[in-house]
């Protein structure tokens, strides 16, 4: 918790999960990962960790929000939208596509 307060991006409070995905799936170093996500979201890199700006933008993009909003994308639904937004392959989303694809 101390790290989250002192220097963490903020997870789904902000865009922390999105920047993490670019590090994990594309081996991007932090500046590159932030620049990539900021470009995809149409914001500056500083806004990626702005809780207020990202709370609104996440709901607008329907990519999962922190508070429980009825009708908003949840879990795997949100990840499917994130995969499209970031143009990145998310394994659990690929598995869902295989399960619902032509049998």
């Amino acid at each position: 918790m101390s790290h989250a307060l002192a220097s963490g991006m903020g997870g789904i409070r902000t865009a922390g999960d999105l920047v993490a995905r670019m590090q994990l799936h594309r081996k991007m170093r932090l500046p590159e990962a932030k620049a990539y996500v900021a470009q995809k979201l149409g914001v500056g890199t500083r806004e990626l960790s702005d809780e207020v700006a990202m709370r609104e933008l996440r709901e607008e993009l329907d990519i999962g929000v922190l508070t429980s909003v009825p009708g908003a994308a949840r879990g795997l639904e949100a990840k499917a939208r994130i995969a499209s937004l970031l143009e990145v392959t998310i394994p659990s989303v690929e598995r869902l596509r295989e399960k619902i694809g032509p049998g």
Binding site: G8, G10, V19, I63, L76, S92
Partner: protein
């Protein structure tokens, strides 16, 4: 002269003058530079640390926009686990705890892990672990690792089938100890590849090798071989977190890509981890409980800065209890954890913690 209320490496409070803190910061970075054959911190970087440790506020933080990605090891064990995992014994399921970390604790990533947290005992219960991973993947948004420790020691007698180097070495049976470690490493690699393949099949985002090389160089080799294979046959994002700053030479002769593993420090470890195909590296620098936290943080960020500069993949420094400058105690003071956190970001130039 004004005294600063700060902490020793064991967490106990101590009062130091600004000059004493500055002296410790210089000594800490020089110790790392000497051991790792790496550059010491610049005067400006040392001055930054002096400001950080003489600031009277309880907690500190990075500037907005400078935040980094957080990964975790052991993760939700800290909620439902017992003292051995620094757990607080909350009666909550593993899946629920992961949701708490995502939705209440602002984590950027999380992981599913078995309470024992070693790969070997996971193999016979893999179906349960897969079920947990599948369930979590349906309900969470943040990237999800499966994590555990290679823990080569579990493969040695009496816990495993192979000879125990801790018994053989004192008897002078050097060759037998080496053979036992090589056999154990092969079995460990097979188990880790098996578990990784199964986790990839159900859609896990990543696979975290935590506390790598805890049993020395043969364990590091077992892990690098598993990383190599999993990077080749799966889409898993692979993280390798180390056990200590220095790879112990329990075997002494094993190599990877022509490099002797015993004695490597973080800036050399990361090059082999990259070569094997990992996506994220977690360097460790051990805390000296007899020195001040200022000394420990200065020493830790010197090693990590060299590692970050050598790396091409993201660096997520370990900054939990007893590593990365954080005091070695069950309840690490928030004042010191936040200072270690900021120092890792601003001077260590990490991509995450």
């Amino acid at each position: 002269m004004t005294k600063i209320y700060t902490r020793m490496g064991d967490g106990h409070a101590v009062e130091m003058t600004a000059d004493e803190i500055r002296t410790d910061i210089l000594a800490g970075t020089e110790d790392a530079a000497d051991r790792g054959k790496i550059p010491a911190l610049s005067q400006g970087e040392q001055d930054y640390l002096v400001d950080l440790f003489t600031f009277e506020g309880k907690i500190v933080g990075v500037e907005p926009g400078d935040e980094v990605v957080l990964t975790d090891d052991g993760s939700v064990n800290a909620l439902y686990g017992a003292q051995s995992s620094s757990g607080v014994g909350v009666p909550i399921s593993r899946e629920s705890a992961i949701r708490v970390y995502e939705r209440a604790f602002a984590m950027d990533t999380m992981e599913v892990g078995h309470p024992d947290y070693s790969f070997k005992p996971v193999k016979p219960i893999i179906a349960l672990e897969l079920q947990a991973m599948e369930s979590v993947l349906h309900t969470t948004i943040i990237p999800m690792y499966y994590g555990a420790m290679p823990n080569l020691a579990l493969y040695a007698r009496p816990d495993g089938p192979f000879g125990n180097p801790a018994d053989l070495l004192p008897m002078g049976k050097i060759d037998e100890a080496r053979s036992a470690q090589e056999e154990a490493a092969e079995a460990c690699t097979r188990d880790m590849i098996y578990i990784g393949k199964r986790m990839a099949e159900v859609g896990a985002d990543g696979f975290n090798f935590d506390t790598t090389a805890s049993a020395g160089d043969a364990e590091f080799l077992a892990t690098l071989r598993a990383v190599e294979e999993l990077a080749r046959i799966t889409d898993l994002s692979i993280e390798v977190g180390m056990a200590a700053e220095f790879v112990l030479g329990m075997h002494g002769k094993v190599t990877y890509d022509g490099v002797r593993l015993a004695g490597l420090y973080p800036h050399d470890q990361v090059k082999l981890v990259e070569k094997a195909g990992a996506h994220v590296f977690g360097p460790v620098v051990n805390t000296n409980t007899r020195r001040s936290t200022a000394w420990n943080v200065s020493r830790a960020v010197t090693f990590v800065k060299a590692c970050s500069e050598a790396a091409t993949i993201p660096i997520h420094a370990n900054v939990g209890i007893g590593v990365g400058g954080v005091p070695m105690c069950e309840t690490p003071p928030t004042s010191m954890v936040t200072r270690a956190s900021v120092a890792m970001v601003k001077i260590g130039r990490v991509d995450g913690l």
